[in-house]
Symmetry: D4
Subunit: 249 residues, 8 copies
Amino acid sequence: MLLEVQEGTLNPDEALTQLQRLPFEDLGFARIDHHRNLRSGMPEVVFGEGKSAEAISAIAGRILAHHQRVLVTRVSADKAAEVRASLPDLAYDAVARSLYCVKEPVASPGEGSVAVVTAGTSDLPVAEEAALTLHVAGVEVERVYDVGVAGLHRLLGELERLARVRVVIVVAGMEGALPSVVGGLVDRPVIGVPTSVGYGAALAGFAALLGMLTSCASGVSVVNIDNGFGAAMAALRIVRLSRKQGSDD
Amino acid sequence: MLLEVQEGTLNPDEALTQLQRLPFEDLGFARIDHHRNLRSGMPEVVFGEGKSAEAISAIAGRILAHHQRVLVTRVSADKAAEVRASLPDLAYDAVARSLYCVKEPVASPGEGSVAVVTAGTSDLPVAEEAALTLHVAGVEVERVYDVGVAGLHRLLGELERLARVRVVIVVAGMEGALPSVVGGLVDRPVIGVPTSVGYGAALAGFAALLGMLTSCASGVSVVNIDNGFGAAMAALRIVRLSRKQGSDD
Amino acid sequence: MLLEVQEGTLNPDEALTQLQRLPFEDLGFARIDHHRNLRSGMPEVVFGEGKSAEAISAIAGRILAHHQRVLVTRVSADKAAEVRASLPDLAYDAVARSLYCVKEPVASPGEGSVAVVTAGTSDLPVAEEAALTLHVAGVEVERVYDVGVAGLHRLLGELERLARVRVVIVVAGMEGALPSVVGGLVDRPVIGVPTSVGYGAALAGFAALLGMLTSCASGVSVVNIDNGFGAAMAALRIVRLSRKQGSDD
Amino acid sequence: MLLEVQEGTLNPDEALTQLQRLPFEDLGFARIDHHRNLRSGMPEVVFGEGKSAEAISAIAGRILAHHQRVLVTRVSADKAAEVRASLPDLAYDAVARSLYCVKEPVASPGEGSVAVVTAGTSDLPVAEEAALTLHVAGVEVERVYDVGVAGLHRLLGELERLARVRVVIVVAGMEGALPSVVGGLVDRPVIGVPTSVGYGAALAGFAALLGMLTSCASGVSVVNIDNGFGAAMAALRIVRLSRKQGSDD
Amino acid sequence: MLLEVQEGTLNPDEALTQLQRLPFEDLGFARIDHHRNLRSGMPEVVFGEGKSAEAISAIAGRILAHHQRVLVTRVSADKAAEVRASLPDLAYDAVARSLYCVKEPVASPGEGSVAVVTAGTSDLPVAEEAALTLHVAGVEVERVYDVGVAGLHRLLGELERLARVRVVIVVAGMEGALPSVVGGLVDRPVIGVPTSVGYGAALAGFAALLGMLTSCASGVSVVNIDNGFGAAMAALRIVRLSRKQGSDD
Amino acid sequence: MLLEVQEGTLNPDEALTQLQRLPFEDLGFARIDHHRNLRSGMPEVVFGEGKSAEAISAIAGRILAHHQRVLVTRVSADKAAEVRASLPDLAYDAVARSLYCVKEPVASPGEGSVAVVTAGTSDLPVAEEAALTLHVAGVEVERVYDVGVAGLHRLLGELERLARVRVVIVVAGMEGALPSVVGGLVDRPVIGVPTSVGYGAALAGFAALLGMLTSCASGVSVVNIDNGFGAAMAALRIVRLSRKQGSDD
Amino acid sequence: MLLEVQEGTLNPDEALTQLQRLPFEDLGFARIDHHRNLRSGMPEVVFGEGKSAEAISAIAGRILAHHQRVLVTRVSADKAAEVRASLPDLAYDAVARSLYCVKEPVASPGEGSVAVVTAGTSDLPVAEEAALTLHVAGVEVERVYDVGVAGLHRLLGELERLARVRVVIVVAGMEGALPSVVGGLVDRPVIGVPTSVGYGAALAGFAALLGMLTSCASGVSVVNIDNGFGAAMAALRIVRLSRKQGSDD
Amino acid sequence: MLLEVQEGTLNPDEALTQLQRLPFEDLGFARIDHHRNLRSGMPEVVFGEGKSAEAISAIAGRILAHHQRVLVTRVSADKAAEVRASLPDLAYDAVARSLYCVKEPVASPGEGSVAVVTAGTSDLPVAEEAALTLHVAGVEVERVYDVGVAGLHRLLGELERLARVRVVIVVAGMEGALPSVVGGLVDRPVIGVPTSVGYGAALAGFAALLGMLTSCASGVSVVNIDNGFGAAMAALRIVRLSRKQGSDD
């Protein structure tokens, strides 16, 4: 719709009125926004934490009825098994703790791939949540894992790969210094994801969050602690800037 | 250099050795990185807070000797006057509290413009710091000011303009809700800048910062409180993705 | 009593002396305030967290012996089963995690209904605690669920219903932006309830709490995180302003 | 407009379209919402902190051109003098640190008065900001000052007056206990305003804020620290519930 | 020893040398200070949290070998059962979550009793920890429970009892306002104990702690959150001021 | 009055009624509690911070009209000079930053003296506020200054003096360890006063406050940061326990 | 390598190039830095928290294949049993919660021993983690346990032992005062380790951390809460300063 | 004295008795510890913040009467001028904001020099405070300034110098990542000093402090924010480990 507005084929006043009538499906306790796919390049993604297996099944089932893809984040293994009993098409990624389904190959939403970089092996679940989200969205992922700043030589050997992607997602816990170093070496958009890895003064990820926000490398932006999904969606917004035509499933 | 690596004309090992020899100029108390222009699309920007007028003059003078552009952020009016006494080429933007100089028209670093959106009139200094940084970098800016969520109709009337830009920077203090609303309406990359506007529970910008980090609109990323400069540099990294050739002054 | 004082039929000095003699029932470990019904329109409500099933049964039993209604909040399913073994008149609302009993239809305490609005489906337990409290108090409830600010069109379609109620309770976690938007669109009293939904920078509800306290929509007031009961009681104080005569069971 | 919707004389779709076209006046750096008077019972109120005297004069002047009343909060004595040089109709209340003008008697927006209660004499500026806001809105105010909980007899002697008002605003710093005590004695809506009075563990008002949010008296709601204006606007929303007809200047 | 110094029968230099030789018993992982009884009126009290049943049994066994009394605080029911299997002389107080033994009646350490006052029934465990500590120390306790400030009449009826004791311990969670009210009505030493009762803004007892520290009633002092034991020991220091002769078991 | 209740010569119900009628003097913006002298051993003490010289003069003048003593804490030198222009009987203690007047020798409120101990020389202002408060209350003070734990020998040489007093007030900033050490060596009541001395992790006194609250020496109680006055009032409550008859001026 | 640089036998440029090629072993999800042994005197130590037994076995197995020693910290008893099933050479230290193996006597990395001092018995796990780390590194350890500041005589009796070591590690929870006292008595390097022992205001170790950072004894440095391993590694860096020749296994 | 104990020529009991008699000079408000020079290698250093020029002059004058060296940290230029009027032997270092005097060349307290490394030019005052303290203590200093992690090549070029010193002090604000990188490249003891450089999420140095405490490079220890003096004293404790004989002035 906004594209039409942009191209002048839709009057903004009418756009507003249409906005109010955008299709969503009311399950009583939830309203599913089937139109989001068009707007963001992804169908509505279900945040699984704090939702029952029944609720997840109901919502994911309705999304699958309309779209080729679905993603449910933050699902425990037990809950995932329950959901899969009623929705066997869903696969479960135990590291990313997410349920997902990609019915058929999705056209890439834009040009280029996204690198997912981690400081340590404990950052894996968050990194894989980002990678899986990008995979469901049809974006190619480069994994560059365990290259924290205490052993710089591991990162320096990977600069060549980082120079080839469109966006770099940097996942790091503890002091969260890796985005600063990457941001100083690479001119691509860098999105930092602090993780809750660490203890004591790590403050469940806040040390890393504050560190990334005050990064001395200019132009690094940040998402919430452990929010691999959010970083992937921010990267997707950037990748989609270069798409030739809208893609939907 | 990284471009050469990317194109295969430079061996990564040699790149590293070159990296160590990158030109910087040692003033004794500071090392100016004259190569940064090539890497980031901007010459080294001077953070003026806590630096004396003499130090700023020395550093900015050296940068101007090598580049067509210079930017000094966070400079009070008094200090700016002192600096301009010795460097009259610098102009002072009192709202953005920054000294700058653009000697000759800069080629745009990429395609498209960047929108700077504010929630209230008190967010102006931060917004103007972002706008000025983009101006110095050669990027065109769309200003959409005073469209906070308590009066939604003001924002809804501007959606058309937001649909035309490449990146949207949203500057907001107090509860920092505007990026969520904009991120829900626009599919462009959205960079939130919390401001220290407010008192009490606003916690000098932390309420807005936390609010933006936990935005229910997926794919919004965030920079430090009041960091208009950082948001502009993050936008610049995105805009430069579409450049045909490197631009320098 | 305060009504009598207001009407001049009771001398304030005597009122004080009476205040000291107000009836409460001493169970040894607890003092039940049977007079509260008259003062607040609700019998004393039991905060179930940290109380044993035995203690809850003893207190709730004594309240039921004097009143037509009882409410016990923050009770787990297991503890509820134990209490119901000895007090089978109590029903258990698993979403609101509360035990309650309304022996006979309660006269409305005033004019009009109260809307309970949520940003997402994870806010349901808190919203239902508010709705159940209002139900026990005899107030009609309008539920408007899953209308968060990232999909504004869902809220805009419900404005008509919000225009009909006397008070709007807005329940939201994460960045807590919904009360600001509702407060800007509706002129009714708006009571914000932050929820602990979210992770990382959501700070267990503090991001939402700070966001609501610094709302740019003037006249929004706030209660404690997850305190659906408190919001309902604040709404009840407003609704009771229009009552013709005191109502008790 | 919402009243029309409520009465069925306006279709909600049309309402939305109108919403987008609501009149605001664009000063370049600010957009004045002249329609707010109708919606909230007050013209747009100017938050003076961080605005220059010139900006305040420009905005307040435009409001006075359209309305009978204006209020500018958080203005220092010096800035107030500057503004009054160009807008001599404005009076300055030094305790409430606010500029205001009420051109002609305003019809009361509803029934009854509002009590403003303080714990100590240092809470006066916040209390007077609330009182002045209510005065500009046409609501009668009862002042009950310096009745903190360390000397309960001072409060007990004023219960009679509190029983006569529609809403009670309780302003308190330090431990912020007064709203709990008032809320236990009075069945009216109670709005707590924590103040930044105190030092050390008072945490610039956060001890009082946390204390009010966790009040053991149910149904107390809270606004931001030192936000006398916000408490008055919340009270105004309640008082307006009983109005016979809309009032405007 | 300090008494001897005070009476001039011991030279301070010698006192120091003796201090270094004070008897403690080294269990390898712990050093039991058998002399503490004389210094503080209580044998060394064991903090049970984080110690194994074996460690507790070993330490408590050695204390019982030298003294008539022992107290172990913060012991779960399971761990208590294990300890009692090897030390059957110990009794377990399930509310105070403490093991204790008083072999024979202890002479009172001074004049007068101590009141333990609670705001609500959820504060009981902390209050009973204080009461049990005082009981083991030989001090008489007055329990005044469930007299929180939301129902002032309950407290006012107990003032007579509070006027008879030497020290008042006030235990309260949530906003922690009760010590302020008690401190304003009673001229005895008042020791506040914040409890972790509450949720959200109660911040696990910090709202109450901050509230008590900023109490508007002067002369209220405070101990750590949930530290009933510490409040009892502070009261014991005061009660012992009036003792005629040292008492030991 | 409470003494009468205690002695049975006053019925508690009547006591309450009298409580409500306790004399206070209403200055419009403040209510002076002339009865406090009898209740707490001190006339009402004026908290000078945030009060104008005029307000202080008015309140202090009224107190002096009824009592032999007055104390105004937290007064800057400039404000003190203004107040003394109208109330020349007041003396100003520049270290304690307090105005005071003791018209004639006050009978001691009880037996024994109070020690005021400091860790460093920067804690002096807080210590002197405590000492001056005790002086005005008629209590003798022992000053033991600059005996912090980094040079233990300085403290060990003063144990003899500490063994002679009734109460020990320990004033310390930075890590606030001194009360733990003193509490382990002395069996008297120990009241800790954290000070805001220090920087960075001292967190304006919170490091010391937290340290004192978690003291490993049992029975140490604490007052607010920099609250020398409050510590003195807590000590006064203890000293008064041994008084033969009430003393007033 | 840095030694060679220091001795002039290696050109720094070449050193850099070598740095990039330092050997690490890529397990896919982890990169093991086999060269760290030479650089830090310890093979890479595995942080066990948040790693599966499989991952730990894989990494520890590869380290053992190259080195005589391995250490895995923060491993629960259950996980340790799983790991030992596949790597029976590993021993488990239940107090230090660590797996380790020292195949043959390691030559001391330098002169002298390190003292590990604790304030209480609850600090044992952290102290033993430090002691085990030093043992694996070949450093002799002096244990001085349970000498907290509330019973100074226990510490004073151990000064002789502390005077003999090269570095003193001081482990303390609650108020964390012990490093200040030790730092005032001993001139050796003192490294403070705050522990999470305590509750309420202990803030899970932050009270101790802040206390140690603001220690009034100059020259005390600090590591993260509960980080016994880190303190041992800091001590190892100091001990290695006096080594005659590099030692490896 | 401790050396004598170590060598067995002094009985520990006698040592204690001597400890109590250690010489300090009592100025009334301060006790100067003239013996500290022997214990720590530095005479007592005066913390100038919050002390008057008169107090500083008195204390520094007494120290100069006994020692060849004196250091007063945290002195403003104005206060320094006042002090120098009475003590003209003192020099003022405006960057380090410290007064000092070194009457004659001091013998080095041990072997080797100390490097002071900074991330940016704004960290200079803290770095120079460390360097000046080391200079007064007779330790040689290597300055390596402005080598922050956003431009790694600046640091890599200085590794050779860092390999030559005994201790590395790393001074950094904002995200405080530099100690992690240095600690990963250098095997010397690394002491991190967070600075309060930065704004917003830098939290006045806490982001850097938390970052350094959670450094992924093992064996980095940390001192308080902006505490250049403390880092120098910690380095001095290490350097003194290798001294041949005690040095005093």
